[in-house]
Symmetry: C2
Amino acid sequence: MESLLYQSLIGIVGEDYVIADKETKRPYECDGLSVYTELPDYVVLPADTKEVMAVMSLCFQMNISVVARGAGTGLSAGALPIKGGILLSLARLNQILSIDRDNGMATVQPGVRNLAISEAASTCNLYYAPDPSSQIACSIGGNIAENAGGVHSLKYGLTVHNVYSLVVVTSEGKRIDIGNQSCDVAGFDLLALMIGSEGMLGVVTEINVKLLPIPETAKVVLVGFDSVEKAANAVNDVISQGIIPAGLEMMDSYAITAAEDFAQAGYPTDAEALLLCELDGDIDDVTHQIASVQHIFQQSGATSIRVSETEAERALIWKGRKSAFPAVGRISPDYYCMDGTIPRRELANVLTKIHQLSRYYGLRVANVFHAGDGNLHPLILFDANVPGELEKTEAFGAEILKTCVEAGGCITGEHGVGVEKINEMHHQFNDAELEQFHRIKRALDPKEILNPGKGIPQPKHCQEHRTLLASQGGNNE
Amino acid sequence: MESLLYQSLIGIVGEDYVIADKETKRPYECDGLSVYTELPDYVVLPADTKEVMAVMSLCFQMNISVVARGAGTGLSAGALPIKGGILLSLARLNQILSIDRDNGMATVQPGVRNLAISEAASTCNLYYAPDPSSQIACSIGGNIAENAGGVHSLKYGLTVHNVYSLVVVTSEGKRIDIGNQSCDVAGFDLLALMIGSEGMLGVVTEINVKLLPIPETAKVVLVGFDSVEKAANAVNDVISQGIIPAGLEMMDSYAITAAEDFAQAGYPTDAEALLLCELDGDIDDVTHQIASVQHIFQQSGATSIRVSETEAERALIWKGRKSAFPAVGRISPDYYCMDGTIPRRELANVLTKIHQLSRYYGLRVANVFHAGDGNLHPLILFDANVPGELEKTEAFGAEILKTCVEAGGCITGEHGVGVEKINEMHHQFNDAELEQFHRIKRALDPKEILNPGKGIPQPKHCQEHRTLLASQGGNNE
């Protein structure tokens, strides 16, 4: 059986592009969440949509599971390979097919890096807005799988708001074109359904993205507070005045000191919380809005306010924020990055709860996150070499996600569910709701070969499934 | 069988709320597209979510089709009853359950009128942004079924961008809660899937909508042009400068004169095309943006530019636009309102094509539409009493929609597919794509009892279906 599969795969993509030996497969054993590892039977690297169609058609016939992979920077083990299946790397589909200056759009293949789109578009004075922290490395295909956001999502939206259309290969190997270049869709919204579906409903092989004019200017306001609560309230004060900053980020004390040590960005290290509030647009508008937010921050009890004077200063202020994750890595042997979203109004409450949990578990936590979106990224600091600390960290993380759901939010922002949060899905959805997900999954992927076992847990009442998992020693539930 | 159904229905909702006699059912025989009429077996008016669940559970068991209906203002016959089935009116679910001033949201039942939400929220200085022309009458439930937009969608988005969560009753009669109050979702995006699904995937019984602060000020700029092309290009000039007006509407000559005769809004009746460009926000921003757009319109060759000085003047200018449809009704015995979307850049090309088609068919056309969104509403003027004119009008309309698809757009904006455009779906989607829709339909509505026969045509190759339709004398294909 395996040898037939192997022969068939090389018949499609050529011998050079099917990896069978263990050591060459090794780099594909995990994504950015490296606590989970597995080796696929084969790593397959198709060259184009037609080869993806042929691979999917083969796997459908032979009942072989397929995990699609972009750059492997995902943080929820969504691209974790499956034993007995293939890992479908889209790394060779790495071309920017066209940039359309007049109409503000680009057609790209899924293996193109996020930042490469903006770099290529910059000659037309355009850029692609969603900017996850990993944008140097992550691929646009992966961004679609996870509906990635970033610092600028508050004003410019998530991936789903910046994609016009997709070419998708179905689990049977058929090509479908979904979306269009207008503002609405006919039929059911397959585009929204596909974006964020973590490779479970189809394989995306071509993407038409929206490009925006590069703003005339951008300035960032760096604001210190003597309490997390005041900073959280200031976030709401800005938004409730009808101002939508390009980015509105928050950091608390461990994150501030770690980032400052690392980047020397001039952060006020005595502050308990810091906001980075960016305004962009035409110069007059930005000047006016900067004055408005300065006034709001004064009223909100800021202890320091600094506005970037130059592009270099703005870049340095952002460097601190963008390097906060690795910087926190320097103050702790290990850290675990959580990702949940809450209604913005709940920021102060939820951060207070996280600090209480931090004391309860005896684990430090650094918060660095998209405050304007209510998208939290608590980093739990721990030492995997201390027996029991990893387990305590996981329990703490689960409690944070539960807190997000209780506050009216969601167990994921932009990192996805993958393997990591599959149990936490039960906090968010009851059995009737999970059943709807499974129905959609089975409808579009009738043999359940696309990234099976990720994203959606079995309903809790499903005894058959529990028995099956117990017999497999599965770690998904 | 019927009498068992009737007895069971009155057992759920009470005798007063099941309508069986022909004359009392008559008002439900059509929606806003009154060329299609049909009587359902029963009209059922449940009081709450629990009654909807019981009705759906009953109909699922008995295999009875269910068409949900809001205010019946829809324009694509999406709420056309089905013979042998029930018409589920949600008119009694008409309560605004809560308005949350601090958090900018309202929880409402589906039968609440669109405008009633903003009226109730106005005491908190908040409003609900999507504003279809029918907002005095149309229900929020219907808005969800069609993903309604309106004049202000350019800046504030469609219904899907203004809803946090829904309570949905499934075809089997189970309650599911979808969406949340944060900016992202876990699992597949059921909320986006449900919104715009024309009652084919579930019955919405409760809605949590986003409320926005009422802008400090709003002004409208009324701009005349001596050609449609210049006006269309001016729309792109504004947007490409990074300005997002609250509304950017266009009218051409028949619409201008008809609206002016009706509303006396001071429209320049010698203009070939008119733009209404509204800016809203804080006073300084609006003043600045008004100056910017005035400059852009001068550069674009405007023949007249007028800025509203007072609220009364602004209201009068909008009155002309909002009454344009009935106003056109005064210059022609009948008119047929089309609804398609195109990429904004194609405005000039597509309008030129529509005028060519108008000459070819010998039928006048008036354009009144959301130019900023590329959402066209050509009104074809005809006389149903002239033999053959209705057929010519339908052929003309179909060609307009084909033109929209060829331009990279879509056969519907906010009016939906319903019965009206089911054939035109073939212009937009091939068989493989239609099959994906059917799979989702069957997954969430396995007996296909929810609004069957609407929205999605059978794939063209489906001989079985063609034979079936021929034997039924069906008018859906």
